[in-house]
Symmetry: C2
Subunit: 405 residues, 2 copies
């Protein structure tokens, strides 16, 4: 007796969360056990509102194009289910005979999926619930990395390289460039900008993550010292930077900036560092803050990321059909010369609400850059090297005149 | 008797100014009349400092790769020559027997080139001076458009599309997205974000250019009305936005932010609009500000832009050899069904310091979006359509339950 499958997307969009949905749909279509293939509009909200769409009605080409379409095609949400919502979820799943519920998201979403799985078990409703990892933040526990991260890392590596070249080019213009990246609680995204550095004096020169407390005096010393040596400094900083007391260096005070999970919307760290540099060091500075553009850039898709996102979607369905439930698919990196990942399973409970910070060994002692170990970790995830740029030899002509005052 | 050619880059870097230098070098190598092929480091500063490099010593592959290398490989500058510097320029050109001086830049740079040409004429020093148009701002007079613009337009069209999809996806998160683009005095860059809009309700929904005074009340009305209809609003705004009195809506007060041309470094308009929306309409809002990343993105090269940048570099050299001087190469759009441009010449004096605003016919009456005429103008410049994304049909399932409160 065939039952329906329901897939939904949750949390911040990424460049490849649609690739996961593509993997879910394609795999679901292969199985006779699956009747309806449905999508919920705007994640769990679409479930409680009974806003479901029939994915079997989509053109095959549209489904295939999802692999390279950023953002969340079914719509996403940031909504924390209230206690009373859970019964409604069960009613809707029952009304549409949903036997498989696939939820793509981060740690909050895995908590939601876990609670749905527990309630179904309590009510003796036969439901296989599988979590598909998704987050640009790369902070889900246990999995080696999260689909969505490789692409945002590629964007930031490219952006930091281009922006550093921009700073290097202009003499007597802005000589301190701050690039503010996303990352509410962890520095994975910011750290990826280190991939921009190909030669010793390339930017970024300094990288600040929220895993280490920010000390303004040390920061200014580092900036000053690099400025003296190179005449320019490129600094990448995480929006979630915290001071020694654990407070956000700049947290928005606006009440409307708090979402229903109680998270603060951040922003402004870059401008804050600009002010610091200008006021304390009297050096010109400016800030680039690509914001949400970084997490959904269709142009910066990492091929590896896109394929892994597809695979975790596929495997989530095949495992659900095999009878697994209340689990999330993980990526496990093989110990091999060439980068390879296989998929694994973890109990949703173990990843729900948890958070993996950038480990100590990935940051240097001065807390102002990453280590070679981190670069080794992140390099394969961005799906191939950055495009090669020309570097001129610049053979200097002998001077024929005395120096000009 | 062969004489040397000197090429230099000036002003803000772009994605394709190196492609122009490539065109200059390749063309120069074809001519017996040209002996040394030199580059000045950091524009005119490299001339007065006699910091010149021998471009014949570069590997052919490096030269070719310049076509796809963003920023300014020879280094650029923002430096206004003092009266006494001009004599030094002549000394350096004379010492290295420079007979051809090719300067790539915007309106300030064309003024510099014009002054060098006049001084050479006055001193009866045989020098052919040619200007190569370059500016992401697209505000040079007479030329149909400026190399550098097509690529920044492509970046912003893509960024605005991705960022709009991001806003569309998340229910109950940020529902007003502000994207702040570059453009100190003109709105050409901001206007290009309109290319992101493929269907009627797509973002961006509102576009604000400095050519029309910003009126906060009208802005808030427009935001409110779109928000009521769609539940989201994407707004693209130019960093150089001005109010009815002609003042920058937010001008930085910091003295160090003023360069030697007396221009103010801007920034903060996006954050200012966020505050307006949050405080006056109580709607969540956030700002993306890609900053310098937009003007040097190696990934968003417009093929048309890259080829035209190469061509204006090439033609500058061939015209100098034919005896032209004190001129800038222009691009002239042919009246034809398919987009085609030929090159022309204009006196440097006519473009020096001048500025072409976005014309009235390219903006709508409400001053909050562009017209179809502008889209027709800009579309061919970005070098091919944006990559096609999946759009799901979303056939809604019949509801089986009463609505949920």
């Amino acid at each position: 007796m065939s039952r329906s499958l329901l897939v939904a997307q949750s949390g911040g969009p990424t460049a490849v969360i649609n690739s996961s949905v593509c993997g879910v749909i394609v795999e679901a279509m292969r199985h006779q056990d699956i009747g309806g293939i449905y999508g919920a509009i705007n994640g769990i909200l679409g479930v409680i509102r009974e806003e479901l769409v029939d994915l079997r009605e989509e053109a095959p080409l549209s489904i295939w194009k999802l692999r390279r379409t950023p953002s969340a095609a079914l719509g996403s949400c940031r909504y924390k289910l209230r206690q009373e919502d859970f019964n409604r979820v069960m009613e809707v799943l029952t009304a549409h005979d949903v036997g498989y519920f696939i939820y793509a998201g981060g740690n909050d979403s895995m908590d939601t999926a876990h609670k749905v799985a527990m309630l179904a078990a309590e009510k003796k409703y036969d439901l296989k619930v599988m979590g598909v990892p998704k987050t640009v933040d790369n902070d889900l526990l246990i999995t080696d990395h999260c689909p969505g991260y490789g692409s945002v890392a590629r964007f930031n590596a490219l952006a930091a390289r281009d922006s550093s070249l921009d700073t290097e080019a202009i003499y007597t213009a802005d000589t301190v460039k701050i690039i503010e990246t996303m990352g509410r609680d962890t520095g994975w995204i910011t750290a990826s900008t280190a991939l921009a550095r190909e030669n010793q004096d390339d930017g970024p020169h300094l990288i600040y993550l929220p895993e280490r407390p920010f000390v303004a005096e040390k920061f200014l010393e580092s900036v000053q010292s690099i400025y003296k040596r190179l005449g320019r400094v490129v600094i990448c900083v995480c929006e979630g930077l915290r001071d020694e007391s654990g407070e956000f260096v700049t947290a928005s005070k606006r009440a409307t900036d708090t979402d229903t999970f109680g998270h603060k919307q951040l922003g402004g760290v870059g401008d804050f560092l600009v002010s610091l540099v200008v006021s304390k060091l009297q050096i010109k500075a400016r800030c680039d803050k690509p914001g949400t553009i970084q997490r959904v850039s269709g142009l910066c898709l990492s091929q590896v990321d896109m394929e892994e996102a597809y695979r975790v979607g596929q495997v989530a369905v095949s495992k659900a059909i095999e009878g697994e439930s209340d689990r999330m698919i993980t990526l496990i990196r093989r110990e091999s010369a060439e980068y390879q990942c296989e998929t694994g399973l973890v109990d949703l409970e173990k990843v729900a609400l948890g958070r993996k910070p950038v480990p100590d060994g990935f940051m240097n002692r001065e807390s102002n850059f990453v280590t070679p170990q981190f670069l080794e970790y992140v390099r394969p995830l961005i799906g191939g090297p950055l495009p090669e740029y020309a570097r001129l030899r610049k053979k200097v002509l002998d001077k024929r005149l005395p120096p000009y005052a």
